[in-house]
């Protein structure tokens, strides 16, 4: 009997939701690599071997200044790691990557070798959103990878709903926007209208290299280089695409649900 079968299956499967963040986090693939670390003191004099190999212009080195790697622009291709003769750029295997400002994602200077993880919202907004956050997702030129790994947070394994975070169908019901994609010019008006329809106070979260700074499409005339050029962004989550764990960590950190 089909109905009984279904119930039996469900009982047998039990709870499929992961223990994280109270228990252990899901295992990451060994080749994932995680966030980067840049120790500019290791750079050889005048060496800029990493600069031309970066496909998204995420690395700069001005004369007499330390190398600067912008994790917001980074698509984690690891070309710079392979090119660096002194191992100044390394992988940390740390999945945590969300930052509150663009400057927090720039690595290199002494003391700033790693990104500065996002601080929680101020007390007032935390009271409003900390236990109940409704987001409208807008894909503005996104390739459907960031979208897919945001979507996966709604599945039984991740169950974003247990944190009071939910994606809603109308901006009128939302506390903020989660934006993916570099903001194609063709989506600019729709994005602005969607933002305007969200009642204040409102938050904006940029997920993925594209939404932060244009990603692999940086400087194309058909796009804007990320959401920040159009709207005030409160949280940046790097990656191409970011692992679901990276996105979840960013959201929880932002709401002050984990330290």
């Amino acid at each position: 009997m089909f109905t009984i079968d279904t119930i039996v299956h469900r009982l047998r499967h039990g709870c499929r939701t992961m223990a994280f963040p109270d228990g252990p986090r899901p295992e990451l693939p060994d080749r994932h690599g995680g966030a980067l670390r840049v120790d500019a003191t290791k750079c050889a004099d005048g060496c800029a071997a990493c600069v031309p190999v970066c496909p998204t212009h995420a690395i700069a080195r001005e004369p007499q200044k330390p190398v600067a790697l912008d994790l917001g622009k980074c698509i984690f291709c690891a070309a710079c790691i392979e090119a660096c003769p002194t191992h100044a750029i390394t992988q940390t295997n740390d999945f945590r990557m969300a930052g509150r400002t663009r400057e927090d994602l720039v690595l290199g200077k002494p003391g700033l070798e790693e990104l500065r993880l996002a601080a929680a919202l101020g007390e007032k907004l935390r009271k409003l959103f900390g236990r109940s956050l409704r987001l409208r997702q807008v894909s503005a030129g996104g390739c459907n990878a960031c979208e897919a790994d945001v979507n996966v947070l709604g599945t039984i394994g991740w169950d974003l709903g247990r944190f009071g975070i939910q994606f809603v169908a109308s901006p009128r019901h939302a506390d903020g926007l989660l934006i993916t994609g570099p903001v194609s010019r063709n989506m600019e008006l729709a994005l602005k209208k969607t933002y305007a329809a969200v009642p204040p106070p409102k938050l904006v979260i940029a997920v993925g290299a594209c939404a932060i700074a244009g990603g692999p499409f940086v400087d194309h005339p058909q796009i804007r280089n990320g959401a920040q050029l159009i709207l005030p962004v409160d949280l940046f989550i790097p990656g191409c695409p970011p692992h679901p764990l990276t996105i979840l960590d960013g959201l929880l950190r932002f709401l002050g649900r984990i330290d």
Partner: protein, 493 residues
């Protein structure tokens, strides 16, 4: 062939000197292409190459039964040429694109309007087809949709609940990918190929790598071709499983919906086991692959694969056991065999309308020359058929992976290839999970890309969704849409 105009014939993943591509007047090209389509050919690509003055048109036609591709070009034309769409509707979007990109009017085209052109901060909105009458109402949906999904605009003409006509207007995701390739390949080109449609990273990256290898007169090492074939099937498994779940979700059948959402992630994690990235970013590169699948890793992958396959079989079983689900899928959103052929559907929607079309079988390149997967065909053309085709493909991809993992070829995974040959045209087809991916490249005298045409399977298939909705209740749109699951960004480029 009795036609006075003989196309140049080549196989998938091959190149031809530009000078050897037959050149006819544009009227002859339209007639000859129409004649080939009449006798069973299929239009893979139809695009312009700018000359000074004028534009040349290039036709790429596939003869699936002969495992052969055919190319020809026109002499430079200006202003207009006789429309091919009047004879073969499958040329409809291609001709609109040519008109938009090169200002070349296909005279007599029945519905000439923009495809993805920009108008300031939104796409150019042409006029929409309207059904007139006091009882008719219009429903406009998008660009921003209710879920976590890409943007596009749907315009329904309805009589009550019944959809008389659906028009789909896209372009919102346009990122200028084809334009950026001119003068390339650039450093960032391969990363852009991986994000044409991010859920088809392996498919598009493999097509691009095949193009560069064909232009270099080289081939990737066998072990790399094997790895690409594995990754392509993992990509198919993840997406088809996600689609089964989404279809179940849209008819409120939650057991399969929740199970497949999780299993889809398990398949993505298999790709991540190879390349570190759940979508396979960084795996396929011109000349080979960047990551190897060592014996131990392959054994781990096989173990995880078997678990996921067992779970998806169970979840699909619940779906097929439910009369309510089957009844909801059956006779919903049907595209007939004839319509599917006329509009040139590809991939699962074509096979679900009974058409035997699969690049892996019809135009084998790379590893598929040595290892085949039976084509999954189902009659009916409805949501049920499109779901069946996906389910059969899940099983066959799983079996293929199990077989292939047992017998890996040895050797290197990457070789340095020479730069692209000058003044050469190359064509590469790959059967992505949505269907036929077609890349065509033409190099200039310096071996740089002079033109690079990308045809995502969604370019062929969006009109199929519009047809599926005719005469359907508007409330059937979600399951019809999920049963196609087309790419917005792959179409918009």
């Amino acid at each position: 062939m009795n036609s006075p105009h003989e196309f140049y014939l080549l196989s998938n993943g091959a190149s031809v000197p530009w000078a050897d591509v037959p050149e006819w007047t544009v009227n002859e090209l339209v007639d000859a292409t129409a004649a080939e389509l009449d006798r069973g050919g299929r239009l893979c690509a139809w695009f312009g190459v700018p000359e000074n003055p004028g534009v040349r048109l290039v036709a790429v036609v596939a003869f699936d039964a002969d495992n052969t591709l055919a190319v020809a070009r026109s002499t430079p034309v200006t202003n207009s040429y006789p429309s091919l769409t009047l004879l073969h509707p499958q040329a409809h979007l291609f001709e609109r694109e040519v008109w938009e990109q090169h200002d070349l009017t296909p005279a007599g085209h029945p519905w000439l309007k923009p495809v993805r052109a920009q108008n300031g901060d939104q796409p150019v909105q042409g006029r929409f087809f309207r059904v007139e009458g006091r009882e008719i109402h219009e429903v406009a949906v998008g660009p921003v949709h209710a879920g976590i999904i890409e943007p596009g605009h749907f315009r329904f003409q309805c009589n009550g609940e019944e959809v008389l006509y659906l028009e789909i207007a896209l372009g919102y995701q346009h990122r200028g990918i084809e334009e950026a390739l001119i003068g390339g390949p650039h450093l960032v080109s391969v990363n852009q190929m991986e994000t044409i449609a991010g859920d088809t990273t392996i498919g598009h990256a493999t097509a691009h790598a095949t193009i560069l290898e064909a232009l270099a007169g080289a081939e990737a090492p066998l072990r790399a071709q094997w790895l690409r074939a594995l990754a392509l099937e993992l990509e198919r498994l993840a997406n088809h499983t996600g689609d089964l779940g989404a279809l179940a979700g849209d008819v409120a059948f939650l057991p399969t919906s929740s199970a497949c959402g999780k299993i889809r992630g398990d398949f993505l994690n298999l790709t991540a086991l190879i390349s570190g990235n759940r979508f396979g970013r960084g795996l396929v590169r011109p000349g080979g692959c960047r990551f190897d699948l060592e014996t131990e890793r392959a054994a781990q992958l096989l173990g995880m694969l078997r678990t996921a396959l067992t779970e998806v079989e169970e979840a699909a079983g619940w779906l097929w056991d439910s009369n309510a689900v089957r009844a909801r899928f059956e006779m919903t959103g049907a595209v007939s065999h004839e319509q599917a052929g006329e509009i040139g559907l590809v991939g699962p929607p074509a096979r679900a309308s009974g058409l035997l079309r699969d690049v892996r079988f019809d135009h084998p390149a790379g590893w598929h020359r040595f290892a085949q997967i039976p084509v999954a065909v189902w009659p009916g053309g409805d949501v049920l058929a499109r779901t069946e085709v996906r389910w059969i493909e899940i099983q066959r991809s799983g079996k293929f992976l199990e077989e292939q993992l047992a017998a890996p070829p040895e050797g290197s995974i990457r070789e340095v290839i020479s730069p692209p040959a000058p003044n050469t045209l190359a064509v590469a087809l790959v059967e992505g999970w949505r269907g036929e991916i077609c890349h065509v490249a033409l190099t200039d005298a310096a071996g740089k890309f002079r033109r690079y045409k990308i045809v995502d399977p969604s370019f062929h298939n969006w009109p199929g969704l519009a047809l599926a909705l005719r005469g359907q209740a508007i409330s059937d749109f979600p399951i019809c849409n999920k049963s196609f699951n087309l790419s917005y960004c792959g179409f918009d480029l």
